[in-house]
Structures are given as structure tokens and as C-alpha cells.
Subunit: 279 residues, 2 copies
């Protein structure tokens, strides 16, 4: 047995950045205290989700990857608690902005950077105004607790992203995210659709999948509610734990050796036929 | 609105081929009588599922695509009832055998042939002994009721198959199948995993998905039970109808115009980035 305990988390965010960071740290300490070895914080938790509107003032929220104080803070925390953590952040380079993630290993080493590949654009989610589509390609990191791939929010809708990370060896797929109401039509309820899409990635790739989603109602340009529903799915797509719309953490333990055996025995990767796949 | 009523079906099969065909015809007539315009029969319903064992005698069950009496029979029935039907059959060519499907349009025209791309192999499912992996590639047919893509059984586990058909324009994905118990380990229960994988294809491609699965216990080499569970999922992966392990039909009506609008508005196909996809 190679047991891994994963924690998902969810929280509200305000314009008080130190308070958001402190709240995230509290969630991480709670999760580690309950035995979590791999802890997932939600997307862009330093601030409210500013992509509800197109406002160039929000570009000032970005910071470079190198020497980023948010990453430095959580790298020290990861080392203290001996946990693996991807940290979502708003990245700037000299001429571009990315929706990015730094992977931090359990000893506090920053293993590298992933820039969100798929950028959404629609009412309430004006990300194409801010973010250049990622240029890193998908990344899978060999961490102290296993091979972990991370997609960011909109990436979670793409079977190609999950499959690419699975083919690169990921045993765990993580998705930090910020999704909620659709301001153009309050009758559109995406939560079940969102969960089932990722449960499908778990089932088809036979890998555990975890998603941490934002909660609360924010007012950036307009009122938008984030539904939480953070979850961990086993390698058949079955939900191991699922949160409602309240703040906190949820944990699940999976046996990565059993998962690897089941995946190999089932033979899906043996039988792929890339020559017939449309991309 | 462009409403389409789809029927899934399931039945037991014996070595009495005319009886199996008669039973399938009864299911089709029942479904058409209840308003179905697109009717899905299960995989290889002419006979028991012979791939439980490696026995060259079963190769004699195959028949060519051209002039195939099973296809001719159901083409006449499709024309009589004005329904679209894919028909699964065991195909032979001069030197090879395929697990194949003929698509029949509502006027009885045979639109073409698809040969199962992904061939499984494991206890109870010895398909690599019989079937050459398909050489047709995925197919999507423009039928009287919309653009329909069909995967056969093991194909249903591959997100690449569903995505390929979706990119070729399929509005409906169909999967005739034969899946049940795992003789090597009765504790392995695949039904929920199987359903969730296809619900994921529906959710990620925003297309209705329907699967018709075999039922009953057969003794070909050993005892194997098929669990049915035929279902129709909407374009968010939600189940519209789901059968248990009894024979019969189940219908659901979807609005293909609404589905097309939802798919376009959500923007997933807009935001694909094939340059980053591992195949």
C-alpha cells in the first residue's frame, strides 16, 4: 500500500490580501494537522476573482514568479508542515500576464511553474482580457508524495489536458478553480456538469482527481457567487468526499499502488491508437 | 427546437440466432411505436458473447459486410419504421475479422461501416484473439435525425474516441456494448465506472450519449453475467434514463438545437490548444 491523504479546501476572498493569505494558511495547517500530505488551495486566492470585469487596474495585482512573496510564504509553510502544495498566483512577465501555478514540494522546494493552457471568456469570466494562454505546456511533477499534474480551472473541462498529464505519468490530477454563477442567465447551473466532467477524467485516466473551488459572493463589477463543491474523486470517478458551499477542508486517502495496479490491469493505455485520434 | 427521441435497448442472447434477431426486432418495433427516431441495439446481439473464450470455432459466426443478411434485415425494418439504427455485427473479410457496425438511415440506406478501433483483452473479454483493430477510423454519419457517431464497447472508455467524433461534428454519440462480470475477481464491479466514463464524454463534448448493454448470464467457456444499465445522458453528463438488468427499452428526448447552442456558448471547442496535447 502507498497511501496518500489529499485535502481540498475552500474559502471566501476579500480585497484584504494578508487576511486571505492568513485564512489559506489556517486551512493548510488544519489539513496537515488531520494528516493531509497533499493540499490544494483554490485558484487566485490572494484576491477576489477580478476577471468578472475588464479593468486594467487589476493588472497591477500580478507579480513575477521569481522572488514571488506568496510562493515564498507557502514554500516555508510546506517545509514546516512537510506537505506538497501547488500555489495559484497571478503572474506577470515584462510584457505578459499569466494565470499560473507554482508547485511546492514537501521540503519547500519550488519545483516549477505551470501557466494555464486554456483561457475562458464569457460573461463573468473575462479571462482573455488578462491572461495570455499558457506557454509552458502541461506539467507533471515528481513530488515527495507521487507524480502530480495540475490543471487550472478552465483546463478542467478538457479531456486532452487530463489525458496529457496522465500520459506524462501523473498519478494525481489537481484542479484549483473559481467557478460559480453565470451572470447572463441565473438559470444556468454548472456545478453538476463541472463535477461530472472531472469525474470523467478520473474514470478515463484511472487517476484520483481533486478540485478546490472558491466560495462566497463577490462584487467586482457585478455580483457573482462561487459554489464551492470542492471534491476528491477516486480512480473510477466515484466521489470520495464533496463539500457544500461552506468554508473548510475535506480529506480523502487513496492507495496509489492499488490505483496503479488497477490502471495497468484494465489495459486502457495499452490499447490506445493515436494514429486514429483527431486533435 | 430540434427534438430527437432516442431509444436504448437491452436483451439476453442465446445460440438461437433467428430468435435473437426476432427479439431485437420486437424491441425496435416497441421503441418506434413509442416515438423513437434513433434506436440503439446492443453489441453482437446475433449470438452469445463468444469472446469469453479463445475458440476458433466461433470465427465461423462472422459474415461479410456486403450482402450481410442481418444488415439487410434491419435496413428493411428501418425503412418500414422510419428510424435510424446502427447494427453491430461480426465481420469477416478474406483474411481478417472485425467487430463492426453498419449505420442504417431512416430510409433503409446503409450509410457505411465502422470497425471497432480499440480491442480489449482480459479475462472474460478475449477480443484480441478474434478481432483485428479497426482500420476505418472513427466515423460520423449525417443521418435523417442528425450527425451520429458510434463507438463500439471498449471504444467507450477512450476520451480520444468521443472527442474525435465530436470534432468530426457528431451531435449524438452511441455505444453498443457487452460488459458485465470480471471472472478473475467477482469483487470487481465496473458498472458505475463504465457509466461515469461515458457521462464524462457527454459532459466534456456537450453531446448526448447513449449506451445499450447486454443482459443475462451466458455460459461460453465459463459463466459470465452482463449487467445492462443501458442509459441516455444529456449534454452535461446527467442521466436522462437508466435501465436495470431487465430486458426492454428506455427512451429520452433531447433538443439538439438547444444542445448546439449550449455547446457553442460554453466555448470549449473555441479554446482547444492542440499544440500542447500529448497523443
Amino acid at each position: 500500500m502507498t497511501n496518500l491523504t489529499i485535502a481540498v479546501t475552500q474559502m471566501t476572498c476579500t480585497w484584504d490580501r494578508p487576511a486571505n493569505i492568513a485564512q489559506a494558511e489556517t486551512l493548510v495547517r488544519d489539513a496537515a494537522g488531520q494528516g493531509a500530505q497533499l493540499i490544494l488551495l483554490q485558484e487566485l486566492f490572494e484576491t477576489p476573482y477580478f476577471c468578472t470585469e475588464q479593468n486594467a487596474d487589476h493588472l497591477a495585482l500580478a507579480a513575477p514568479y521569481e522572488g514571488n512573496p506568496l510562493i515564498t510564504h507557502f514554500a516555508a509553510l510546506a517545509a514546516e508542515l512537510n506537505v506538497v502544495m501547488p500555489i495559484s498566483f497571478f503572474e506577470c512577465t515584462p510584457r505578459q500576464f499569466f494565470n499560473s501555478m507554482a508547485m511546492i514540494d514537501a521540503d519547500g522546494t519550488v519545483l516549477g511553474l505551470y501557466r494555464k493552457t486554456h483561457i475562458p471568456d464569457g460573461p463573468g469570466y473575462q479571462e482573455k482580457f488578462y491572461f495570455t494562454p499558457g506557454d509552458t505546456g502541461f506539467r507533471v511533477w515528481k513530488t515527495a508524495v507521487g507524480k502530480v499534474g495540475v490543471g487550472i480551472c478552465w483546463d478542467q473541462w478538457f479531456p486532452e489536458a487530463a489525458r496529457s498529464m496522465a500520459l506524462m505519468g501523473a498519478d494525481v490530477l489537481l484542479y484549483p478553480t473559481a467557478i460559480g454563477s453565470e451572470p447572463q442567465d441565473p438559470t444556468i447551473q454548472t456545478k453538476a456538469h463541472w463535477q461530472r466532467t472531472m469525474q470523467g477524467h478520473a474514470a478515463a485516466n484511472m487517476s484520483v482527481v481533486a478540485a478546490s473551488n472558491r466560495i462566497g459572493t463577490e462584487h467586482v463589477g457585478h455580483r457573482q457567487r462561487y459554489y464551492g463543491g470542492s471534491f476528491i474523486s477516486d480512480c473510477t470517478g466515484g466521489l470520495l468526499t464533496e463539500m457544500d458551499d461552506r468554508p473548510g477542508i475535506a480529506l480523502a486517502t487513496v492507495d496509489l499502488s492499488a490505483q496503479a495496479r488497477a490502471r495497468s490491469a484494465w489495459g486502457l493505455f495499452r490499447d490506445r491508437r493515436p494514429e486514429h485520434y483527431k486533435i
